[in-house]
């Protein structure tokens, strides 16, 4: 029986889609059978980040409305074993899918997959309700900024109201140089305000931009973000992994000095 994980944030542009892509690829690298689902109706993006936009034939709306069989809409990723993508639709009608339909879909997928990852749209409207409907647990992505942390707090409150018991926090785009100067909130500052368990910290890594340009997850690459994502995947599997030291996140020297530090 698989586990359904929703990746959400409230605020847009903090890294939900990138996280979904990389955690999906990472879990499949660790030997799990994974499907990643784009639930952002009207603004399809996960296929683009994955570099699979040319393979899209059917989508989420086709599946839930019976326009095609579930198996027809799942796109297999040729780079990763056991990784599948269910793309979203580019239709404008956001009410094309209901929370009940999402519940039915995820429970069906649970039979066959170890992990079902749902890339949630920004906001707290219907798209959000759809994405969390069938979720067993949530990964909340935030950046160390006031607006993004504020939205994360609201999202966590809504997840708790919707009986999602397991909620973990990912802090994305940390810049250690700014944290040191006192111009960016640290991991401790953020967790103190949000008071949910931390599952990952990610640096502001230009490899992520390069990866997105190319349609390639950074998970396998020798980058700080790639390692950070792989650690998140291991923690999802229940392994204890020390946090990477983001302080060494620059240049060649950092790559040879794997200074791990419990944060």
């Amino acid at each position: 029986m698989g586990e359904v994980i929703v990746i959400t944030s409230g605020k847009g542009g903090v890294g939900k889609t990138t996280t979904t892509a990389n955690v999906g690829a990472g879990l499949s690298k660790l030997g799990k059978k994974v499907v990643i689902i784009d639930t952002d109706l009207g603004l399809r993006n996960l296929d683009v980040v994955m570099g699979m936009e040319n393979l899209v034939v059917y989508n989420l709306v086709d599946v839930v409305t019976g326009g095609c069989r579930l198996k027809q809409a799942l796109i297999r990723d040729s780079r990763y074993e056991n990784l599948y993508l269910l793309p979203s639709a580019q239709t404008k009608d956001k009410s094309a899918v209901s929370p009940e339909q999402m519940k039915k879909l995820t429970s069906e997928l649970k039979e066959e997959f170890d992990y079902i990852l749902l890339d949630c749209p920004a906001g707290i409207e219907q798209g959000f309700q759809n994405a969390i409907a069938g979720a067993d647990r949530a990964l909340v992505v935030t950046t160390p900024e006031v607006s993004s942390i504020r939205d994360a707090d609201r999202i966590i409150g809504l997840l708790e109201q919707n009986q999602i018991r397991k909620i973990d926090l990912i802090i994305n785009r940390i810049r250690m140089d700014m944290v040191k100067r006192g111009d960016m909130m640290s991991v401790d500052d953020v967790t103190e305000i949000l008071s949910v368990p931390l599952i990952g910290i990610l640096p502001d890594d230009e490899q992520v931009v390069i990866g997105t340009n190319q349609g390639e997850p950074v998970i396998g690459l020798d980058s700080t973000a790639g390692k950070g994502y792989l650690n998140i995947c291991k923690r999802i599997l229940g392994l204890e992994v020390p946090y990477i030291n983001l302080d060494t996140g620059k240049g060649f020297f950092s790559r040879i000095s794997h200074a791990f530090k419990k944060n």
């Binding site: 006031v146 504020r150 707090d153 609201r154 040191k180 100067r181 006192g182 909130m185």
Partner: protein
């Protein structure tokens, strides 16, 4: 660690925002809640304003009075 610059401003703004989001009102209403709770409780419990503290979390409102903390 140095925290003299913009982080302390960010944290203070964020704390106020998060509390007002949680009770769905402006920060001044938070002060009203505190005052009302204090007045109500002080009818039954011996309190001083210095000992009285209200903390609003996502799922609970915690009232602390001196001597009650473990």
């Amino acid at each position: 660690m140095l925290k003299s610059s913009s982080v302390s401003i960010a944290k203070n703004r964020l704390r106020a925002l998060v509390v007002s989001d949680r009770v769905q009102c402006t920060p001044s209403v938070y002060d009203h809640i505190c005052r009302d709770l204090y007045q109500t409780l002080s009818k039954y419990v011996e309190l001083t304003e210095d000992d009285f503290q209200v903390e609003i979390n996502r799922s609970q409102i915690v009232i602390r009075i001196a001597g009650e903390e473990t």
